[in-house]
């Protein structure tokens, strides 16, 4: 059986890639995709912990899996909403460059 550390390193790497993407990308759609990466990193951690830390046959064996399904559902809804907002922004400003979206300040 593969040790849990492999899963955790994969999740951390995926999360770091997501954070990097959110920080440096200028395109709003790519930022959304980076956020998806971070969410999936979390999912990998949830599945790994659920599999390795809870003894077999325990009633809470599938708790992590259920969480992961919830995260996927929420992520889908979030992307649907966020893409709608991005679309409106594009219609208004002909651009989805987040550097230009800086009106929310003093």
């Amino acid at each position: 059986m593969i040790a849990i550390e492999y899963y955790l390193v994969l999740g951390a790497a995926l999360f770091a890639v997501g954070v990097y993407g959110v920080l440096v990308r200028r395109n709003a759609v790519l930022i959304l995709m980076s956020i998806e990466l971070m969410l999936q990193a979390v999912n990998i951690n949830l599945l790994a912990f659920s599999t390795y830390l809870i003894p077999r046959g325990d009633t809470e064996q599938h708790l992590g899996f259920i969480f992961a399904i919830f995260v996927i559902t929420i992520a889908a809804a979030e992307v649907g909403l966020a893409l709608g907002i991005v679309l409106r922004i594009y219609r208004n400003r002909s651009s989805v460059n987040v550097d230009e979206l800086n009106r929310m300040k003093w």
Partner: protein
Amino acid sequence: MSEAGAIGLQWAWLAPAACIGAFGALALPALLRRNLPRSGVLLAVGAIGFSFVLFWFLLNSLLNGAQRDFTVSWFDAGGDAFDLGLTIDPVAMVMMGVITFVSLLVQIYSLGYMRGESRLAWYFAVHSLFAASMLGLVLTNSLLVLYVGWELVGICSYLLIGFWYERRSAAEAAKKAFITTRIGDVGLLVGILLLYYKLDTFHIPTILSEVQAGALSDGVMTLSAILIFLGAMGKSAQFPLHVWLPDAMEGPTPVSALIHAATMVVAGVYFVARMLPLFEAAPAVSELVIAIGLVTAVMGATMALTSNDLKRVLAYSTVSQIGFMILALGHGALAAAMFHLATHALFKALLFLGAGNVLHAIGEHSDVDIRRLGGLRARMPVTSVVFIIAALALSGIPPLSGFWSKDEILQAIWNNGNPATLVITIVAFFLSALYMTRLVWLVFFGKLKPENQSAHEAPAVMTGPIALLGVLTLVFGFTAPDWLDNVLSLPGEATGFASFVLDKADSFHEHVVLAAISSVVALAGIAFGLALYRHDLKLPEGVDRALAPVRTLASNKYYLDDAYQWAIDRVVLATGAATAWFDRYVVNDTGVDGSGKITALTSRVLRRHQTGQVSNYILVISAGALIFVVAITLAA
């Protein structure tokens, strides 16, 4: 008088209540700018007339020995009970008689004098309020209520002095009167609170019995007596707070007669009389009272002698006469002071109303130089006769009322005072006779000036009251001797006026030598006055030159007004400017604006960090989270 008409003395509260009612009925439409019918002002006259009738019933009950002290609970505040109450003793009764009688006559007189005046309803409304608050002031036994009445009469005085507020001088005079008396009132308030603090009651009889039982230390008694006397000095126009009274003559003449001669200005005398045991327990204050009374009496007389304004001569005369009352109180002579208060109220009200007739005759309201009057005797027979009677009474010619009361004062000084005081008082009596002679001669005798050819006697509604006052001035003095009880067979102990006021058998002080001296002095004053003003007697060169500085001093009102003006300009206004500067630049600009400016400055720097670039925020949040996790890991 018999038992039949006796009513309980507690019904005295009806008198101020009726006047308050008249005030409300007249003031509300006046404030709402609705017009009452002209005859509406008769409400005020009716209310005060009712009070005057009530006075006789109450007097009857008092003489029949009814209960005098009444108290009802007013309100409780945190364990302290405050009471409303009445004390109807002879001193209060004298005041009530004077107030209701003079108010009634003055209001009737005003019907004629103020005819055709707009705001007539307001005038009578304030008159009613004045009568109510003055009655409340004298009838109550609570220092708290007394203080309320004290301030209310001050307000009424202010409103009536400034009745013709379109004239700047009247508005200024009203302000001056109010502020000057306020200075004394502060002392009064502190004195009342000091007594309350020490004795835990506002009830005057309790306070006086505590004082007599020695419940207070000497220091507290002296201090509270001085503070209370300060209030009396302001209200009763005693040196050095007398400066407002002459200026108060800007008001309508009936107001001068009622408030600034007969009633309000003697409130201070009344209050000191009420609190006399306190003053007797503090001998040092009695000395002060004597000194103030004496200085005021002489100063007022000299200023009356040099003033050329008809009403101001009378005002200075009032200042001087109240000085005599205060002087008598300083010697502990309650009866003498109250008797002079009553006689003075009658003849001084008469003099003012007579002066009002003169002003009415020549069509002026105030500010009349007596040197341009003269010879009005032929045109105004009634006014001139009663005016002369009052002037003789004020001079102290027997057997008019002023003679008796001045005699009582002289005897009080003779019995308890020192010779120097007696001599100075006699000199002041001489001056009184002199200035009244001067006034009467310049106004009523001599040649009629061409501009006054149209002068005419006042209508009956105006001559009636002064004729009545004239009769009383003639006969009121005879209440002083003891024989009255033999003739009228009065019930109880009361015999002469002194016995009535002191509430015990106290024979009239017969002292033939003093009576003779005061009569001779009065006659000498009149003779000297006639010589000066009728026969144009020239004083010897040396005497004239010696008197010149005194004359300058007196005609400039002893430079007190100038001194006060200087003090206001240099001290009060300078302090005010300094305070205003502190408020403007320290409190406002530094304190209030400063805290706002610091916030604004800080935010101007800090808001640069809110870029609106979401990725910046995320970077900081991520870095923060990272540092947090690392810190926790290292710590664990």
